[in-house]
């Protein structure tokens, strides 16, 4: 089935899958957003425990999506893995450490003998929520703004020039931290941060059975939705009017093209529809939950969540499709990574494509288990009857 597809079709298929995993990851980062809200929504120990437990039942899903996103990116576009992870070392290390401290925090937070104390693990959760969203958003923005690096596969064969025989080389000493100085990167980082908080609020509205917390959720929704919208509009506005990194399909030469991402949007109508539908669904989910609270507040997470997936998916597709360099180099345009020059071979992409047929099955059992476990809302009283509490 997949064997007969051209290499380009397989590359496009895998960009679709990796982008979808990235989009699902951003949606699932409501867990990170929620972690940054535990102190503003939970004023008592009991309230904080309720919130932490609600997030604690989903954190592994987010974490696993991050790991799978990394694995799929490695398998399908190894040159990205090699160039970005080895180059933007400090950003990725900071993101990884932020997730390391999260992984133990739920389980260890309230357990006796935890050595660092409950407060430390709660701070870990807040730090993960803050850095995880902000840095991932900033890193993804470089897919559009570019980074300074060079790639030369011949370096591997260079035993005499005095350079290390290393293919990808990052330019500048900050190894990725410089991305945070770019206001456009930062605006996407902040948009992801506030979006994660908005999604967390909508998730809590769907799950929590606690009148006081619900009141705080109502207030917090708009406090976070407005800054999200501002930062998102800054980024989206810049994107539509900025120059982009175009690839000549015949020669593979990369050059700057005015309004490249706007052109991509117009050239890819399905992506444009996904983008518009996505943004509309995110906004509708927020507006309905804020202004039609009584009837609509439990459904906001599904509407805005779906919208998030569609929006992020379409943005990532814009970065890689229609002859665009998805990981551009501002130092040497010709070192920019495209889905064509950075992908795995036809054989590997074909083998991986068969594995990808498992994805709908995986999504189905995740959905089934989510429904089975989340049949009713949880209150602090009900939490006391649980045998495993974070």
């Amino acid at each position: 089935m997949f064997e007969s597809l051209s290499l380009l079709s397989l590359q496009e298929y895998w960009w679709l899958i990796v982008s979808l995993l990235g989009a699902l990851l951003v949606f699932l980062m409501f867990v990170q957003g929620g972690q940054t809200l535990i102190y503003s929504l939970g004023k008592t120990e009991e309230e904080r425990t309720l919130l932490v437990n609600l997030l604690g039942r989903k954190w592994e899903l987010t974490f696993t999506t991050l790991v799978t996103f990394g694995g799929a990116f490695f398998a399908s576009f190894p040159l990205f893995y090699s160039t970005s992870f080895g180059g933007a070392y400090w950003v990725w290390m900071a993101i990884l450490i932020a997730f390391v401290i999260q992984a133990v925090s739920y389980e260890y937070r309230k357990k006796p003998g935890n050595f660092l104390g409950q407060k430390t693990f709660e701070i870990f959760l807040v730090l993960n929520g803050l850095l995880g969203t902000l840095l991932l958003g900033t890193a993804v923005a470089t897919f559009f703004t570019g980074s300074a690096f060079s790639v030369n596969k011949m370096n591997l064969l260079d035993l005499t020039s005095g350079n290390m025989p290393i293919i990808s080389e990052w330019k500048g000493p900050a190894h990725g931290l410089e991305a945070a100085l770019n206001p456009i990167n930062l605006s996407l980082g902040l948009a992801v941060f506030f979006l994660a908080r908005v999604l967390a609020i909508l998730y809590f509205m769907n799950r929590v059975n606690h009148a006081v917390i619900m009141e705080r959720l109502k207030k917090q929704l708009l406090h976070n939705a407005v800054p999200f919208l501002v930062f998102f509009l800054v980024f989206a506005g810049w994107l539509l009017f900025s120059n982009g990194f175009a690839v000549d399909p015949k020669t593979g030469i990369v050059s700057m093209e005015p309004y490249k991402y706007l052109h991509n949007l117009l050239a890819l109508p399905v992506v444009a529809i996904l983008f518009v539908l996505g943004v509309a669904a995110v906004l509708l989910g927020i507006i309905r939950s804020a202004f039609c609270f009584e009837k609509c507040h439990t459904k906001g997470i599904w509407l805005s969540g779906t919208g998030t997936v569609l929006t992020v998916w379409s943005l990532l597709l814009l970065a890689g499709y229609n002859h665009t360099a998805y990981y551009p180099s501002t130092y040497d345009l010709q070192s920019s990574l495209t889905i064509e020059n950075s992908s795995s071979s036809h054989y590997t992409l074909t083998a991986m494509s068969y594995v990808s047929l498992l994805v709908p099955f995986v999504l189905a059992y995740i959905w089934y288990v989510w429904r089975a476990m989340d049949k009713k809302k949880i209150s602090t009283e009900e939490l006391k009857s649980e045998s495993h509490v974070y």
Partner: protein, 512 residues
């Protein structure tokens, strides 16, 4: 190759070793305990006896504490292939990335989705669905081990791939050859069964502590029955797969095998060094030659172990370094020359292609392909060939201590099972104390297994194809040094927290 920053290579290796060791502290318990819990819950569902449910829940809590830190330490490893070994990620990413992605899609989601049911679903789903979830967590955990071990096995015996000179990397040509390589299969079976033995010894050791304290005796004895039966079976299996692993090393990584045995000069009817204490040989400084201070040998056994023939020739370190024409073994200098030819002819091929000189390109490619099996040796041109020898003392002692401990585990599991079946275990204090103190020994043996496998294959990231010096990312050594210490600090703090929590939780007992 004097421009290579060796301190960067060393710190990158140290960081990977540190993070891998910390990760492996937690993985084997997860692999084995997940099955032990599934056995216990199966008995609960079959019998309806609430005591088995309590037993299941107790070990499930222990599992949860261990699982969390296993995830935390595992995340780093996946991304470190990119952050610290960027050349490697491109050079073999076409093959190595696939198992990692399959691991995520096939195993990690299974684990994490159903672990939520396992912990929080007691009152939300039916008994049978809960049991199914517990089994799926065990299967998911072990499946994830399969894929990463397939990837590791492939690095020790690269196959199923072909070098593409135009993309300057290895590309997969046969997925099944990667998946079913003999090294990968042995590695998976040996590694997961070592996890089952460690988890069994952990459960028995903790239960022995309860028996010594005369607390929760029924629960402790039931735990021992399940764990000892499972552990004993796994222990037999570990010996069989260990034998297969050693043979695979002898065939495919002769230098690792020679280092494990401190066999300096090869011989027929090679004896096995059953016990030995090493001393450095001052006559050959820099050659890493070690002599035996004490040695107990078993005649012919090494030849038989390696090639199932007591008369077989087993090459030694000297033969591999300096060559042995009588046995068709090329010297390292010959291999370095061939590797250099491979590197230079690939460069010539690239230049000829750019210049449009097709016939020169074709000739260069032919030369390259004829020498590619020694590609990695080319990076050692103008360097001391003895750098290609791994640490002999580390390999030799790690292997022996692991094997001796493995025999101790087998004996202990057998004795504990018999005594528990005869209902005499609580009266045998020496056995109970031995079981308790065997917990750390199980961790030591498990770690030593990896040390044999990974130190013994140095300096190769991909056997004969890519050495560590050509696989790293372009970073400052001080940057990697800093992240090394950050990880060391974090992981040590988390380990202390984990042990503290585990001890408190165990102390609460089965009826908490």
């Amino acid at each position: 190759m004097n421009h290579i920053d060796f301190s960067l290579v060393d710190w990158s290796r140290a960081q990977f070793a540190l993070t891998a060791c910390y990760h492996w502290l937690f993985v084997p318990l997860t692999l084995g305990l997940s099955f032990i819990i599934a056995f216990m819950e199966t008995i609960y569902v079959k019998t309806g006896n609430e005591e088995w449910k309590r037993l299941t829940k107790f070990w499930m809590t222990v599992f949860g504490i261990n699982f969390a830190i296993g995830i935390a330490t595992g995340l780093i490893l996946e991304f470190e292939f990119g952050t610290n070994w960027s050349n490697y990620s491109w050079f073999v990413g076409d093959i190595f990335g696939a198992p990692l992605a399959i691991e995520g899609i096939m195993a990690f989601f299974l684990e994490t989705t159903f672990i939520a049911v396992m912990f929080f679903g007691w009152n939300k789903v039916g008994k049978k669905f809960h049991l199914l979830s517990t089994w799926l967590v065990a299967i998911g955990s072990n499946l994830s081990a399969l894929w990463i071990l397939v990837a590791n096995g492939w690095m020790q015996l690269p196959g199923g791939m072909k070098f593409n000179p135009d993309t300057a990397r290895n590309e997969m040509v046969n997925f099944w050859q990667v998946l079913f390589s003999p090294v990968a299969i042995n590695k998976f079976l040996h590694t997961v069964s070592s996890g089952y033995v460690l988890a069994s010894l952990f459960v028995i050791g903790v239960s022995a502590w309860f028996l010594l304290k005369k607390r929760d005796m029924i629960y402790a004895k039931r735990s021992i029955i399940v764990a000892a039966s499972f552990g004993l079976l796994a222990s037999v299996f570990i010996m069989l797969t260990g034998d297969g692993s050693a043979r695979a090393v002898a065939h495919h990584q002769p230098m690792k095998f020679a280092a494990m045995e401190n066999l300096y000069v090869g011989q027929q009817n090679a004896p096995l060094a059953a016990f030995g204490i090493l001393k450095a040989d001052p006559s050959a400084p820099g050659h890493k030659k070690m002599d035996f201070r004490y040695l107990v040998e078993i005649p012919d056994v090494l030849s038989y172990m390696a090639f199932l023939n007591p008369n077989a020739y087993v090459p030694g370190i000297y033969d591999l370094v300096h060559g042995n024409p009588a046995h068709g073994i090329p010297s390292y200098n010959e291999r370095i020359a061939k590797g250099l030819t491979a590197i230079n002819s690939l460069a010539a091929y690239k230049r000829a292609r750019l210049a449009g000189k097709d016939s020169l390109a074709a000739a260069s490619l032919t030369t390259f392909e004829a020498n590619y099996s020694n590609f990695g040796y080319g990076y050692y041109a103008n360097r001391d060939v003895h750098e290609l020898i791994p640490s002999i003392a580390t390999s030799f002692y790690s292997f022996r201590i692991m094997v001796f401990l493995g025999l101790h585990f087998f004996a202990l599991l057998l004795v504990v099972l018999i005594l528990t079946v005869k209902n005499k275990i609580e009266t045998k204090k020496i056995i109970l104390y031995t079981a308790l103190w065997t917990i750390p020994l199980a961790y030591i043996a498990s770690m030593l297994g990896w040390i044999v496998a990974e130190v013994g294959r140095q300096p190769w990231v991909i056997q004969d194809i890519l050495p560590t010096i050509a696989a790293v990312s372009q970073l400052k050594a001080s940057s990697v040094q800093l992240t090394f210490w950050v990880f060391a600090l974090f992981f040590t703090a988390l380990l202390i927290a984990e042990i503290g929590i585990m001890l408190k939780q165990i102390n609460k007992g089965f009826n908490a």
